[in-house]
């Protein structure tokens, strides 16, 4: 392993361990106003009026009429208002904000504010949606021929549910407006996304807008697009507050019910098999986008590109749609569309193997992509695919082969055992040509006259350790002790736009820019002089340009790889299971800090297990999410997996720093498929959806279809 992988004390270790670090909610109350959002009570309605109670001095209402710029929060497209104007499209959509000096009183006045509505019909079910926000399609090979030549054709539908990020710190923002300039400080992943959104809503030129990332207690994608909304709403309030800062911090219920979460999906797979091999996949993916487009186009792109899995299938036809419903807009969550389709394709391959009466792992191995093969979008896997070695490693550590054989006999005891395995990748960085065409990342290193070096980049440390890994890279190239490298939370008035903290890109793309900047500085180093060097993104030459109109080319420069075996023990009396162990292998290239990466991998695995099992969230017939508390929406505890065994494999990527690739999202993506494979073996029943509950498992044990039971 490269020596840079050796772990160091994280940059934020002391302040977090001691509890001295300040989050948005920790700043003193003095002089601060509180904002409380007034939200729609209906999934779809026309607003007839908003009536506050009589407000004492210092309390005021903010709504769309207070917006000086455009009432649009820019994400990818421009369809989402900051404050609803005339019509609301989901339950909880912000209509106005009540602002005042006392938090309890502000909340009380917000509750007493009456909104009158004309209720309109709401569409909650994707099957009934009349609006397709995005409809993508790509095709490769000769589909018709492959299906007409097929020995057998298999068809199945797969479903996945919501998943809520449950970052420890809820969404929070502080905005202050003085002398024509606005400063917004908040819990966020992407300072420059917020910067653009706030400037547009306030109608200010970019130089009058300053965004500062405060220490952020977790994001997982939930603070990618959403903070742009809260920042815009709070900034509008700050303009009206005339110099006083306004703070909005969500309570947990508000956060769980009304912020973005993972897209529920329905994926239909139709697969042609000839001579025991998959020759064609015809795939139809539908994501529930919720009421506005937000990040759905890019989530859907990643989802459908991953839809054929890690398999070399010569003929592929994929259609993906993100449809509108009158529900909370869905958005980014670790994996970004890929967990949905990887769940589907891995289940599909297992089910086909079962139907063909062949060992599922042998079947999958016979289809694996390798270096030089075409990707689903007619790009190329330019670098080695280490899956075979990773599979061997997981088999070895988990005892999979022996267990799989032993557990194959249907159990009669109270404990039923099963083990399952899944294979997956995660495309590293933005999908397509986003880095080259939109982000155009830029970083800087600032050196003082006395030789102190500061990193200037807009990527935020949201717990994933980017301050630490960036500093390690720069320290390594400059031969300066790591402890002496300075890096602060990004402030748009000081740092260039190195892009958002998303898509497992920060380390691979921005880390490499910093490495090059450090080499640059080293070569021009002048003692006793202040210096500044900048570095800009350059697309690697090997890339086959990606075209979004027909999904053609390299969607990603390289891929991170994952293999996991999950073993379960199911209680036949209750349907409750215990995850006996999870053995996984991950290739993220060179880990820039082994502790950081292993921590990421373990956390992601646990999130994947939660997604597949206990994390249940749904809306009722009025479009209301009821699982909005931590006692109703359970996430796994450390007790829920007794044995979590992670091993790193290193396939260096020459264009990432020291060979590093994307890491953050990878571990979650394929875990649900392995978990459900284990459950299938344990209870001898085919499952095609997540989350898979104890209740459904018990029904399956009695032989009835789980989904049918759920419906009754």
């Amino acid at each position: 392993m490269h020596k840079i992988s050796n772990s160091v004390t994280k940059k934020d270790h002391d302040e977090k361990v001691s509890g001295s670090v300040k989050y948005v909610g920790d700043y003193p109350q003095i002089g601060m106003l509180h904002g409380k959002l007034i939200r729609s009570s209906y999934a779809h309605a026309r607003i007839l009026g908003v009536q506050t109670p009589e407000l004492p001095e210092g309390y005021f209402l903010v709504d769309h009429r207070d917006i000086a710029g455009e009432n649009i929060v820019h994400v990818v497209q421009d369809d989402s208002p900051a404050y609803a104007d005339g019509e609301v499209h989901y339950r909880g959509e912000p209509i106005a904000m009540l602002v005042g000096p006392n938090e309890e009183e502000t909340t009380r006045y917000a509750r007493l504010t009456e909104v009158t509505y004309e209720v309109l019909p709401a569409i909650l079910d994707v099957e009934e949606s009349e609006t397709v926000f995005f409809d993508y399609h790509y095709e490769r090979g000769e589909m018709e021929q492959a299906f007409s030549d097929a020995d057998q054709i298999f068809e199945e539908v797969f479903y996945t549910g919501y998943q809520e990020q449950v970052y420890l710190e809820t969404q929070g923002m502080i905005a202050e407006y003085k002398e024509g300039h606005v400063t917004v400080r908040g819990s966020l992943q992407c300072p420059y996304y917020v910067h653009g959104a706030v400037a547009k809503v306030l109608g200010l030129t970019p130089d009058k807008v300053r965004i500062v990332q405060e220490t952020t207690g977790g994001g997982f994608g939930g603070k990618e697009a959403f903070p742009s909304f809260l920042a815009a709403q709070t900034a509008v309030a700050a303009v009206k507050a005339q110099g006083k800062p306004v703070r909005v911090v969500f309570d947990r219920r508000e956060d769980m019910e009304f912020t973005s979460k993972r897209h529920p999906s329905k994926s239909t797979y139709k697969v042609a098999v000839k001579d025991g091999k998959v020759t064609a996949m015809d795939i139809d993916v539908i994501f529930n986008a919720g009421a506005f487009t937000t990040l759905s186009p890019v989530v859907l792109q990643r989802g459908i590109i991953a839809a054929p899995g890690v398999y070399n299938v010569p003929n592929v036809n994929v259609r993906g749609r993100a449809v509108r419903t009158h529900t909370v807009p869905t958005g980014a969550y670790r994996g970004f569309g890929a967990p949905q389709t990887f769940f589907a394709v891995e289940r599909m391959m297992d089910h086909i193997a079962k139907a063909l009466d062949v060992d599922t792992l042998t079947f999958k191995r016979a289809h694996l992509v390798k270096q030089g093969d075409q990707t689903s979008t007619s790009g190329i896997y330019h670098y080695p695919v280490p899956l075979p070695a990773m599979i061997d490693d997981v088999l070895d550590r988990s005892g999979y082969l022996k267990k799989r054989k032993n557990y194959e006999k249907a159990g009669i005891e109270r404990d039923r055992h099963g083990i399952g395995l899944s294979l997956w990748f995660h495309g590293a960085g933005f999908t397509g040509s986003g880095e080259r065409d939109f982000i155009k990342a830029k970083v800087a290193l600032q050196k003082t006259a006395d030789g102190k070096v500061e990193i200037l980049a807009s990527n935020s440390d949201i717990g994933q350790g980017i301050k630490t890994t960036f500093a390690k890279i720069v320290a390594s190239e400059l031969s300066i002790p790591y402890e002496e490298i300075r890096i602060s939370n990004p402030d748009t008035s000081r740092v260039p736009d190195s892009g958002p903290t998303v898509a497992s890109r920060s380390l691979m793309i921005v880390g490499e820019l910093l490495r090059r900047a450090a080499i640059h500085l080293r070569s021009e180093w002048r003692e006793g002089e202040a210096q500044r060097v900048e570095e800009h993104f350059v697309e690697p030459e090997f890339m086959i340009p990606f075209r979004l109109d027909d999904f053609h080319g390299d969607a990603y420069p390289t891929y991170a790889w994952g293999v996991a075996a999950v073993e379960v023990k199911v209680d036949a009396l209750t349907g409750v299971n215990e995850v006996v162990g999870c053995w996984s292998a991950f290739d993220v290239g060179t880990p820039i800090d082994l502790n950081v990466v292993v921590g990421q991998m373990e956390g992601g695995v646990l999130q994947g297990l939660g997604y597949a099992s206990m994390e249940q969230m749904n809306y009722d017939k009025d479009g209301r999410i009821r699982n909005n508390s931590l006692s109703d929406y359970l996430i796994p505890t450390a007790m829920d997996v007794s044995h979590l065994d992670v091993q790193m494999h290193i396939e260096e990527y020459p264009y990432g720093p020291y060979g590093a690739k994307g890491a953050g999202e990878l571990p979650l993506v394929g875990i649900p498929a392995a978990y459900v494979a284990a459950m299938e073996q344990a209870v001898s029943f085919p499952f095609s959806h997540i989350p898979l509950t104890a209740e459904e498992t018990l029904v399956a044990l009695s032989g009835q279809s789980a989904r049918e039971a759920q419906k009754t």
């Binding site: 009396l573 209750t574 349907g575 215990e578 006692s631 796994p636 505890t637 829920d640 104890a694 018990l698």
Partner: protein, 274 residues
């Protein structure tokens, strides 16, 4: 701002309770998360040593109402059945402060320690300024969150009969996860079978209805019978239990609760050779 009294002795506590509407506060793990009017008064019980005893005499295992779960887990006197249930409550931080008295007084059908007190026919010692009364725990529950305590009364001790506390037993809990999980279904059973004769048989079901379900009159169908006779009575017993268990819909469906309860019951019968 929290208002309250922190008496150092029982007499003082009961005196305060007789004169005010202060809410007894033991571990506080349920109370501290409740929204209450600003003028709410609490009677903090942590300084009263009498409420912390754990002991056994010839007839009973006795524990004070303010014993924490951790204290009960650490005591050699605590019966295994009670320890099994306590070990699966919440997580260590909660168990270090939550009390068995609070678990009972909260009157939740999901109370895990209370389920064990129910199945063992534990007696509850209740004290007020005017005296003491001792009642079977099953008489205490009136409904969800409702408990038969008069103003001024305080639960002080639990007396678990030794001839119930150490019988062969079965304890089951279905939670949403392995820790920090509120019961979705729970079951406890105890039985005394010697020389093929059933001398005692008791079952209790938690988290399925408004109160913990205990049906001694149905369990009595099996008591005094030989195993062979019990096998004959089994069908009637299961049918009557099936009738009496009418679960409510919650985080899991009523049908699921029912199925799991009956599975637990049949499993317990099977373990006893019935």
């Amino acid at each position: 701002m929290v208002n309250g009294y922190a008496p150092s002795g029982m007499r003082e506590a009961l005196d305060i309770l007789s004169k005010t509407s202060a809410i007894p506060y033991a571990g506080g793990t349920d109370l501290m998360i409740q929204e209450v009017p600003a003028d709410t008064n609490y009677l903090f019980l942590h300084r009263i040593r009498d409420l912390k005893c754990i002991t056994v005499d010839a007839e009973y295992f006795i524990c004070g109402a303010c014993c924490t779960y951790t204290e009960l887990l650490n005591s050699r006197h605590t019966p295994d059945l009670l320890k099994e249930a306590i070990a699966r409550i919440a997580a260590p931080a909660i168990r270090n402060t939550a009390t068995i008295g609070g678990n009972v007084a909260n009157a939740s059908p999901k109370a895990d320690a209370a389920l064990i007190l129910m199945v063992t026919d534990t007696l509850v010692r209740i004290q007020s300024k005017n005296g003491v009364r001792i009642v079977p725990i099953s008489d205490l529950y009136l409904g969800r969150g409702q408990i038969d305590l008069l103003p001024g009364e305080l639960i002080t001790e639990f007396w678990m009969p030794n001839n119930r506390a150490h019988l062969p037993h079965s304890y089951e809990k279905v939670g949403g996860r392995k820790a920090l999980a509120i019961s979705r279904v729970s079951f406890a059973g105890i039985s005394d079978v010697s020389d093929g004769q059933i001398t005692h048989f008791a079952t209790a079901f938690g988290a399925v209805s408004d109160v913990i379900i205990r049906r001694p009159e149905l369990d009595a169908l099996l008591i005094g019978k030989s195993i062979e006779e019990a096998k004959v009575a089994k069908e009637e017993y299961l049918a009557k239990m099936d009738e009496t268990l009418v679960p409510i819909q919650g985080r899991v469906s009523a049908a699921y609760r029912k199925a799991v309860c009956m599975n637990f019951l049949e499993d317990f019968l099977a373990k006893n050779g019935i």
